[in-house]
């Protein structure tokens, strides 16, 4: 006698996909915990080095706080780059991508599932801080999904592009210094990366001298972040579908140009 299998659809399938994709990651990470050392402890030491650079040049103490906040946010950017954007490339190389496409689910859910337990979150108590954090993360992960769709078409260059998008982004988004240090137009252009305004707003809300070093008013930054969140999530949805169709049409889903 056959056992009846309950087939989910809609949001239930979406959630089921996230959990299903996250499952092997969670199991893998709990089986072998070297990531605690390599992904958490060592990056903390690396960020600490920037703290001591500021100490060496006699910077005011709040700059050290700026580095700590910026350093914590690098975890999210790395998460976007390696666990989301380049994820579809890695899935393609390991042969899983075609299986995901064949299954009756959504690539956005696959991407969200691939993120599980890869980030240490640090939230403040202030409601505005929470709002900024939430909006920045929503926009950022929307951006990650959007760029993942481009990675669907790429081959080995995806790896190098993700690698390239580290230091230049740390620089233009002001991870280790106030973005106001750049001229207005450079800072405005950098604001397309949600972490730029997210970091700037969080620093303004957390540090006493933050508002003086802030790029824009926090309310304006919250407004722009809301717009970016909507824009990136919508664009991700459209682009993932388009790129999936294009990749199928051009036969790139199982391609492996090694």
């Amino acid at each position: 006698m056959e056992t009846a299998i309950r087939k989910n659809t809609g949001w239930r399938l979406f959630i089921q996909t996230i959990l299903g994709r996250a499952y092997p990651r969670v199991v893998g990470m709990s089986r072998e915990k070297s990531w605690l050392f390599f992904d958490i402890f060592l990056p903390m030491l690396s960020v600490s080095a920037y703290v001591f650079v500021y100490r060496a040049i006699g910077a005011p103490e709040e700059y050290i706080g700026f580095v700590v906040v910026g350093g914590a946010m690098t975890a999210f950017w790395m998460n976007i780059l390696w666990s989301m954007s380049s994820q579809l490339y890695w899935e393609k190389e390991t042969g899983n991508l075609a299986l995901y496409i064949m299954s009756p689910t959504n690539l956005m859910a696959v991407l969200l599932g691939s993120l599980a337990f890869k980030v240490q979150y640090a939230l403040g108590s202030f409601w505005q801080l929470l709002l900024v954090f939430f909006l920045a993360m929503t926009a950022l992960y929307g951006m990650g999904m959007m760029t993942a769709s481009l990675f669907l078409l790429l081959s080995r260059e995806a790896w190098h592009i993700a690698n390239l998008a580290q230091e230049p982004i740390y620089l233009v988004a002001g991870f280790y210094f106030p973005i106001k240090s750049f001229n207005f137009w450079v800072a405005a252009a950098a604001s397309i990366i949600p972490l730029t305004l997210g970091l700037d707003a969080m620093r303004q809300l957390v540090f006493p001298s933050g508002p003086a070093l802030g790029f824009l008013n926090v309310r304006v930054e919250i407004f722009i972040l809301s717009g970016l969140a909507v824009l990136f999530i919508t664009a991700a949805r459209i682009l993932l579908r388009k790129m999936e169709r294009l990749a199928i049409r051009e036969g790139r889903l199982t391609e492996s140009r090694r």
């Binding site: 893998g28 992904d39 060496a56 910077a59 230091e167 280790y176």
Partner: protein, 280 residues
């Protein structure tokens, strides 16, 4: 067989690193990343000191950061080959059954990263000398000391990379570029971007125990001796003493690398890790 393993691995590594795009894009890629990394420190320094690039601390930071690029490049080059071959190309088991020496193969795979790293270091230093007043004058440079120090440093980093490669044989692929992560961690203790005296007293012994500290000091002294000696940390040591300390540490690193790699390699064979794929 040793030389053949090394040479073939170096050729393979170069193909993997460079042939994903056309030479122009590859050159742009090789320039943007290191310059952006250096620019972070330049902006940080400039914001606080109002652009006082003439102070001796600036070339200290700038050159230390530039040469530190070798640490991540070489260590990653050696250790990443394990993950790349085992989980991406799935060829590590074939390498193991081929008539090659695995440690030399792994070191050979790092040659490409060493070359691209050298390009990055060169670009960064030239940019600093041309636009940021880093006081390097070709006539003042102690080229012999520079060449010897650089060579010793590359050997040291290859040995550290081999140690990490051994450890990587036993690890799952949780993250990419473990070499960069380890280099990032050691960045704090090596005096690369600030004198060791800035560290709390209880952390300084770690810096003194690290060969990279002495290597960077030698490179700074060879390029801009006056700047390097403006900081008291290692000022009481002569160049000869620094070379002797570095040489001793390289010998120790070689012993550690050989023992660690052999042990990890044996463990990986016993546990069946050579052809495993992790972290789907």
């Amino acid at each position: 067989m040793n030389l053949r393993s090394f040479r073939t691995a170096a050729w393979l590594g170069w193909k993997i690193e460079s042939n994903w795009t056309d030479p122009f894009l590859f050159a742009v890629y090789s320039i943007i990343k290191p310059l952006a990394g250096a620019a972070i420190l330049v902006v940080m320094y400039s914001v606080i000191t109002k652009g006082d690039f003439a102070a001796p601390l600036f070339p200290y930071i700038y050159l230390g950061n530039a040469f530190y690029m070798y640490v991540g490049a070489v260590m990653t080059g050696v250790s990443w080959a394990i993950i790349d071959d085992r989980e991406h190309y799935r060829t590590l088991k074939y390498m193991y059954v081929a008539p090659i020496r695995i440690p030399l193969y792994l070191i050979g795979r790092a040659v490409a990263r060493f070359l691209t790293g050298s390009f990055s270091v060169l670009i960064t230093i030239v940019f600093g000398a041309l636009f940021l007043h880093v006081p390097i004058e070709a006539a003042q440079v102690d080229w012999l000391l520079f060449s010897v120090s650089l060579l010793m440093g590359v050997v040291l980093l290859a040995l550290m990379g081999l140690t990490l490669a051994g450890v990587t044989l036993l690890l799952a692929r949780h993250s990419d570029y473990l070499g960069d992560a380890v280099a990032g961690g050691l960045y704090l203790f090596s005096g690369a971007v600030f004198p060791l005296d800035v560290l709390p007293a209880w952390l300084r012994p770690i810096g003194y125990a690290m060969p990279i500290t002495y290597w960077l000091e030698l490179l700074r002294r060879s390029l801009v001796g006056s700047v390097a000696q403006a900081f008291p940390t290692l000022a009481n040591l002569s160049n000869g003493q620094l070379l002797a300390i570095l040489g001793g540490m390289i010998a120790l690193a070689a012993v550690v690398a050989v023992i660690t790699f052999r042990w990890c390699d044996h463990q990986a064979r016993e546990r069946g890790y050579i052809d495993r794929t992790t972290n789907y």
